[in-house]
Symmetry: C2
């Protein structure tokens, strides 16, 4: 009897060429499928994620699903996977789900976190896990003000990397907040879906607001223009975390 | 005019074969000397540290000294070094010191920190920075009780790796404490000097006390025996941090 399993996973994106399988690259999907296929005695197991993440992007709550014929209690299954997986990927939770569950198509919302470290001297221990600002501390009041123009339902073409095939660029951002954690600034964003590089372009644009290069009010025009060229730079991958996927 | 500079440095030990120069290995000392020698137009600059650290051992407060002929304000000097150094080594503080200052011979005390992560599922982001316990949480009351037998002045041969040339193994441990930081257990130890692998052997021995393999009272006999074979296993390098050197 085949059953469908859902797993919530974490990974350190530093040494991966992103989530999705690519020839001759180390990817999270490949590591997962390799271990699962081995557990199924060589019968290929396909893993589907809520979406891909780019090289160096991290996850604390990515969700995947796959079908399995193995009859192992869930907790033992999870432990067996973690024993065989490299330590930069961890299975946090495993659940059996109805066979119509789909990690990608059934997504209701996603939450991402973007972290800048504003320490004057970058900690060597955080070098792969935050975006350093060389001690610059932005004005988060302005970033919060600008964020209010992004919350809502819009065509977010302005925040979408040019090389995408997606046609419908209307998405809803339901939450966009900033928090200081000592010297680290966290941006938390939630929405029903995100375009390619959307979180990193929003982070980069709001960073420019926080450092005085743009005014908060400009966000309205940037979004209305539907032109990627009017938004800010794409913030570096290493500060980004996929934190939660809701179904 | 030559002057002597003291620097407090941090490094992520993960990708280093330890602090001290070794042929065909990447070491912290080599990275420092390479950058300083370049800044001195090829004239070799020798760097002296408070002591070596092993492969994978970290530092948040290692101290070094070197002599320089360059007439650069200290803060600019520090920044110039950080620009050229790899991001896994950072110069935190630089000070001019009298020419009789010596990073190794003038040490009054050192503080180390040892970190175990007792999370049931090891965070992929902490995999190089803590020693995982696979969810085991030790009895720290017993570890604290055992620690009282170590605080003081003793011949610590029992906590010294066999392959050492040091004759006098009498050292004074002035502080040995345990702290929970959420799921991470920290051991903080301070003393006037430490023998080779001493902190890791103490950590490994107290871990065995905390997990019920030994009794706290046994520490008295272990120390009195002056026999390495009677102490516990050497705890892994990746959980160890050189935190402070006092002069």
């Amino acid at each position: 009897m085949e059953k469908r399993l859902k797993a919530t996973i974490a990974y350190d994106g530093t040494n991966f060429s992103g989530y999705q399988v690519q020839p001759n690259q180390r990817t999270v999907q490949e590591e997962l499928e390799k271990v699962l296929t081995k557990m199924h005695k060589g019968i290929k197991v396909n893993v589907t994620a809520s979406g891909r993440t780019d090289a160096k992007v991290h996850a604390t709550g990515q969700v995947i699903h796959f079908d399995t014929s193995l009859d192992i209690p869930l907790e033992s299954y999870r432990k067996a996977l973690n024993v065989q997986l490299p330590t930069d990927v961890r299975i946090k939770v495993m659940e059996e789900v109805p066979e119509d569950f789909h990690a990608r198509y059934k997504v209701v919302s996603k939450r991402y976190r973007y972290i800048w470290s504003c320490e004057a001297i970058q900690s060597p221990f955080r070098r792969f896990y935050v975006t350093p600002t060389n001690g610059i501390r932005p004005d988060i009041k302005k970033m919060i003000e600008a964020a209010q123009h992004i919350i809502g339902t819009y065509d977010f073409s302005c925040f979408c990397a040019a090389n995408t095939s997606v046609k419908d660029k209307v998405r809803t951002v339901t939450l966009l907040e900033f928090e200081w954690h000592q010297d680290e600034l966290h941006m938390v964003i939630e929405g029903n879906g995100f375009l390619y590089n959307m979180v990193r372009i929003i982070a980069g644009t709001l960073w420019e607001v926080g450092t005085g290069k743009r005014n908060p009010e400009q966000l309205t025009e940037i979004i209305a223009s539907m032109n990627r060229g009017n938004a800010g730079k794409t913030a570096p991958a290493q500060g980004l975390y996929l934190e939660k996927v809701s179904y």
